[in-house]
Amino acid sequence: MIILASIIHVVLALSLSPLLIGVINRVKAKFAGRRGRPLLQLYYDLWKLLHKGAVYSTTTTWVFRTGPLVGISAVLVAISLVPLGRVPALAAFDGDIILLAYVLGLMRFMTVLAALDTGSAFEGMGAGREVQFSLLAEPALLLGVGALSISTGDWSLSGIYGSLFSDGLAAVAPTAVMVAASLLIILLAENSRIPVDDPNTHLELTMIHEVMVLDHGGVDLAFIQYAAALKLWVFCALFVGVALPLQMHWPLVDLAFGMAGVFIVAMVIGVIESTMARLRLLRVPQMLVVSAVLAMIAVLWALR
Amino acid sequence: MLLAVVLIPAVAGLAVMAPFVKRLRLAVLLLAAVGHASAVAWICSRPLADNNADAWIALDAPGRLFLAITSILFLAAATYAIGYLRNEENRTTKDAEEGFLFRNEPMNIFIGCLLLFLATMSLVCISQHLGLLWVAVEATTLVSAPLISFHRHHRSLEATWKYLLICSVGIALALLGIFFIAAAGQGVVHGMNIHALTKAAGKMDPVWLKAAFILLIVGYGTKMGLAPMHNWLPDAHSESPSLVSALLSGALLNCAFLGLLRGQMVMSAAGLGEFSGGLLVLLGLLSMIVAAVFMIRQSDYKRLLAYSSVEHMGILAIGAGLGGLAATGAMLHAVNHSFTKGMLFLVAGNLLAAHRTKNIHEVRGVLTTLPITGCLWVGGFLAITGAPPFGMFISELTILKGALQGGHIVVGVVYLAALAVIFISMARLMPPMAFGIPAAQIKTKEPLWAVAPPLALGLVVLTMGLYVPESLWNALRAAAGAIGAN
């Protein structure tokens, strides 16, 4: 029964994650008073890109071509590691948070290498900024999940999320709130959303993530965009697990609530993007330090 | 009746703040000072009531002593103020050191705050409840801040800000100490009356009491001017008008000391007198050493007097920490120091008015231009450094005797060494001001109001050096006994 729920989760993640991007864009459009793109726009884009060829610059090497491939494989591993709410992941074992963090890190690493491989100034600049922000976001992520694991005593993500609210809300409320806040900031940073990065900007000097994938085209670009949508799903699932304190005892009902939660988080991201302005680049490390400190406080609280 | 001691100056202070005719304000000031002094004299002439464990305000031995000191000093300062303020009416003055023009604070605020200052200090002396004591000490800080910035220029504002912030932070820490004492007494004693606390002190939790005393000594020690929390003192006491400096050094520091004494009372009743006494002696010695070091190359005579206040507060802390005979010496020292420092600051005010400079090296020949002031200055130098026949000699000797008798040889040696260094520094700086050839254009007028109060205080100090009446000794012993010898 539980295995079935996990498999359904992976299938739904693979098929519905581009819809998340569509939801975010639709919310932003509604705030701006526009009709906005169709909800399924990313599917159409992926379809179009898969039928296109690619042009490779002569300065690039095999690194440039393998970047997107490694990226999408890494995030597929991540999808199978991450639980959704109380539904455990497909592959769960002790210490899988480390694998998750490093798999996401591998994806980022290959993207950065591919960007540097082009030899262009814009990509290098974007790569530098991206790495600086992940330098601060990764410890925050590990600390946050560490706080949760200290308070539940479990060492695998599925175990942690499964038993987080089993003792009732009161015991873990402060820790959960802190970790949720920290995870939200990390989510915005890792997925290149406002206030960290504007996905709609067309000025290369202001881009962080967009500029790293500027030279990819065709199938490569399709892989990159799909991988970005899957990465958003991974972080949303992590956030929903902490923020949604519902514990039903039927896996499929938990799954349904989790899915609803993920889409609500996408709408929340849309609202945040519409109501906030992008931060100056100096301030983003400060924000990430605050997120790390929130996670640290959650650890201290769990240790008391 | 006891509350009259607080109400008379408080009501007068508030009344003065209203827009009144100028002459009436000074008359109200003098009347309130005289009224307060007579009330205190009447109260002190009656025997002390038994220690009441429920009263909020009452007069016990240490409180009575400090209240009397405060009252007499304020009377002297108020007399001095009459003439001083008549000269300093709302006009633009040229600053002596830097030559810019500045205005003074409105007179009604100054006089009103002076009277409120007396009221809050009296409240500190008579309060028996530690919480009320705290409220009164914080109130003295707030009410004396406008007094320091009487001359509205950048130096006095800087001094006022330092004073206000550092003392407020210190006193907030003292509040935490008081909460710790309450926590220590949970279940054992109800309320924070000092006598109830001392009776139940043996049953209180020692860990909380020790933590409480550390916070109290940091908090009230900041207000008292103990090193290393003394940084605000030289600035505040040198930039304020002289009569305010006299009151701050002579009365306010004593009130902060009283707060510390209350803490020491609880600690020695709880059997932790060694711990608290040790801390007091340590900070006292540190204050003396710091004062000695900073006095060596001093070039501003009011700052010199301010550092001397730091030194004498250190001596008071040493005496209170050692207990027994030294504690009695500390009480006598409090009396002597207040009057001597008050006299010196008032004399310094005369010097400043005549010579228009605070620089020691630019003031010469005071004995020729202002004879009485010069005599008082030289006499004051002898008095403040502890030379006979003045009163400080007796009190400092008593503290030394107490230290050596109690076996604290190291304390005695450091104490003597610091006193020696201070004597040498002051001897290099203060007497040369009285001798020598004066600069030209010095005003040689010595109006009565400017000379009579310091002269009176000086005579008292001289008398105390030659003969201490038995009743005073009894009062001092009673005050020291309340602290408890450890």
């Binding site: 009161a170 | 705290w134 707030l142 800000w161 949970q186 030289p234 600035d235």
Partner: protein, 215 residues
């Protein structure tokens, strides 16, 4: 009521962090107001199981009124009078301040461990949080330049001392509590006046440039 107390404590910690992290003076003033409200709420949530005395209600409401409404109003007036909006160059940068704050919180948890047994049942976590608030206030006083921010640090310290008092179940008589509040109110009032005078005299309120008096 312990979940409410826990969340209030968390809120207190967050306001301290916000104080350390923000350069805007208006945000810091808002923080002090929020802390006052949290202080009042903690007073209620701790004594929820016992009957709430009338004195406690009066103290809590007057704390919220004075520290949450009157003082921020005074401080905002002082802020407009001095014409400052931000603390531009503190001695310790904002990201470092926040990190130091987290380290201080850890320190407080460690130090408060032996003190925790002697307090209220539901309030054992309040002691490290109160200590953290006091340390935050002290840190702000020493690491910021503007006089107004130093006053805010002093108020944070005062809030921390009061939270400590509440967590130790110290029952001061009504008169003393009112006296403490009155002192804080008059204190901030006097500090505001002095800041106004400093601004008029110097044209700035950077306390590190007030350094003429020295030996």
């Amino acid at each position: 009521m312990s979940i409410l107390t826990d969340l209030l404590m968390m809120l207190l910690v967050l306001t301290n962090l916000r104080m350390l992290a923000s350069s805007r003076v208006a945000v810091c003033i808002q923080n002090v107001a929020i802390q006052a409200v949290v202080l009042g709420a903690i007073t209620f949530s701790l004594s929820a199981h016992a009957a709430i005395a009338a004195g406690v209600i009066v103290v809590a409401i007057s704390t919220v009124a004075v520290k949450g409404l009157v003082l921020p109003w005074l401080l905002r007036r002082a802020m407009k009078g001095a014409g400052i909006g931000r603390e531009i160059e503190p001695f310790v940068g904002y990201a470092s301040s926040v990190l130091i704050g987290a380290v201080l919180l850890g320190l407080c948890f460690v130090i408060a461990r032996p003190l925790r047994d002697t307090s209220h049942a539901g309030a054992s976590m309040l002691i490290p949080v109160a200590m953290f608030t006091i340390l935050t206030g002290l840190f702000i006083i020493i690491s910021r330049r503007k006089a107004l921010t130093q006053v805010l640090g002093y108020l944070t310290m005062e809030n921390g001392v009061c939270v400590f008092g509440v967590s130790l179940a110290v029952e001061e008589p009504l008169l003393v509590e009112m006296g403490i509040l009155l002192d804080v109110l008059v204190g901030v009032f006097v500090m505001g006046i002095v800041i106004h005078q400093i601004n008029r005299e110097f044209d700035h309120i950077d306390t590190d440039r007030l350094s003429v008096l020295k030996d």
